[in-house]
């Protein structure tokens, strides 16, 4: 089915009773050319770009639960490309450009909203760091504006500008940044992947990888064995577990990151604000809830739920930045389990096992990377060479000393 204004009108006249499922609930075939493990945003995007850009038709995405039940449904929906380092800037900018054309490309409304991302600074040192970041971005062709305090106040007047400890001095704004509807990103890639022949197999958990002479030949699943010429891992949070089935150890720890949403309120904030002094960020969803997040819980965790100390910490930051939110009730919170890589940057690479490819280590920032991650991973799988903008995301960079130290904090909780 193709969505258009005409299909919408026709359905309106029929009382919206004729909408069809947007992807097939496929049963696994015995063999695929490429098998993508993980039906999250990155896995679905990978399969879609493999089919649409590289013409590979015999592809499946297998997912242990239902698609979108992992991190693509457990984040704060922010998209941006305000990165500093050469290994990162072109990659995230490619992602931003793919976001800008995503809905036309997928024929699916992902509610991409370029409402701007504003990083506040609170000290001279932070201002200088943001000026440097903004300059690096502009040199790489990314938009960035360094704002003075009064310019920030005009955008978001309700913040606490005269906070005794962390007065707001200004901010770095990326106007093209913003948010997207996270579930619709998964659904959109599933919709478009299905139309390109991708089998989306749900409730199919991988229990083992079958190897032959150092080469992967397929997977064992709860729905039987599936042979595959190439197997791609996109199982953020569980990368270590699945890779260990092929005898691999990774420079990754699994941690839980919580996010929160308030009750729905009238439009209050029309951009994304990050609080550089604490670790806190806030935006408002199109349903009206304030969406915010903070630090990881700080210890290895596979529990897809958070703990109270982080809630308290995030609420303290919220109140320090924006005292007015104290009158709003928190509706719910959720936790996603993420791969924290040792330098805080992702891995898109071959593994030492032939035919086995790895997309992992997204730490805090997997959602914004979804399109470029899938695009570059598909390029790697189809051509067996890294896409130029993802060439720095090597698995062996820790051994070779080429770490991408964007934030200086990987999994080590004492560095946060």
């Amino acid at each position: 089915m193709r969505y258009s204004v005409f299909s919408l009108l026709a359905q309106t006249l029929k009382g919206h009773k004729g909408w069809q499922p947007t992807w097939r609930d496929a049963a696994p075939k015995p063999e695929y050319d490429v098998l993508v493990i993980g039906g999250g945003g990155h896995g679905l995007a990978t399969a879609y770009y493999l089919a649409s850009r590289h013409g590979i038709r015999n592809i499946a995405v297998i997912e242990k639960g239902h698609i979108g039940s992992g991190n693509v449904g457990r984040n704060t929906t922010i998209i941006r490309s305000n990165y500093l380092l050469p290994g990162n800037t072109p990659f995230y900018e490619l992602s931003m450009k793919l976001w800008e054309g995503l809905e036309q490309d997928l024929n699916y409304n992902a509610m991409v909203s370029q409402r701007g991302v504003l990083n506040l600074y609170h000290s001279d040192a932070q201002r200088d760091a943001y000026a440097r970041r903004g300059n690096a971005m502009r040199l790489a062709g990314v938009d960035a504006d360094l704002l003075e305090r009064e310019q920030v106040r005009a955008m978001v007047p309700f913040l606490d500008y005269d906070n005794a400890r962390f007065p707001i001095q200004g901010g770095l704004l990326q106007k093209r940044g913003g948010t997207a509807r996270h579930d619709a990103v998964a659904w959109g890639y599933a919709h478009a992947g299905d139309r390109n022949g991708v089998d989306i197999v749900q409730n199919c958990e991988v229990t083992g990888l079958t190897l032959d002479n150092g080469r992967v030949t397929g997977v064992e699943t709860t729905r039987g064995p599936i042979r595959a010429k190439k197997v791609a891992l996109a199982v953020a949070g569980n990368s270590s577990r699945v890779a260990s089935m092929a005898g691999l150890r990774l420079p990754i720890e699994t941690h839980v990151l919580q996010a929160f949403v308030s009750e729905g309120v009238k439009p209050l904030i029309d951009t994304v604000v990050t609080y550089g002094a604490g670790h806190f960020y806030v935006s408002q969803s199109d349903k009206g809830g304030l969406v915010f997040g903070g630090d990881i819980d700080g210890y290895n965790s596979y529990a897809q739920r958070g703990n109270l100390p982080v809630i308290e910490d995030v609420m303290e930051s919220a109140m320090a930045l924006w005292p007015g939110v104290g009158r709003i009730r928190m509706l719910r919170h959720w936790g996603g389990v993420m791969d924290m890589s040792m330098d805080g940057s992702p891995i898109i690479d071959h593994t030492p096992v032939q035919g086995l490819y790895l997309n992992a280590g997204w730490c805090y920032g997997g959602f914004k990377a979804t399109p470029a991650s899938g695009f570059c991973f598909a390029h790697l799988i189809a051509k067996d060479e890294p896409h130029p903008v993802a060439a720095a995301y090597r698995l062996d960079r820790f051994a070779s000393g080429r770490v991408i130290d964007e934030k200086g904090a990987g999994a080590q909780p004492n560095l946060h």
Binding site: N238, S240, R241, S244, R249, L250, P251, I252, E253, T254, G298, Y299, N300, S301, Y302, A303, N307, P309, M342, F398, A399, A411, Q412, P413, N414
Partner: protein
């Protein structure tokens, strides 16, 4: 989450700082090859389940502890003083 410190009793986890996996052992002398150091610094087993990890009781007795915890449920099986587990564990 509460951790039962052998010196101080059951305390809120917020009194403690987490360092990470307690199993990697720093290679020494001739064992300290590049590959062994890379393994020690970066590679992790990262199990879903039983995990031995280092916690520091900063708001209490200042002891380093080895806590055996299930990473899926946060249930704590054992808490030992790191210096009695092996010398140099907290280094």
């Amino acid at each position: 989450m509460r951790i039962t410190c052998p010196h101080c009793g059951a305390r809120d986890a917020q009194e403690f700082s987490y360092l990470g996996d307690a199993n990697p052992k720093r290679p020494d002398g001739l064992d300290a090859t590049e590959a062994a150091m890379h393994d020690y610094v970066y590679q992790r087993d990262n199990p879903a389940g039983r995990h031995r990890e280092l916690w520091y009781h900063g708001a209490g007795c200042h002891a380093w502890l080895v806590v055996t915890r299930d990473t899926r449920s946060h249930a704590i099986e054992a808490v030992e003083v790191a210096s009695t587990v092996r010398s140099g564990a907290a280094a």
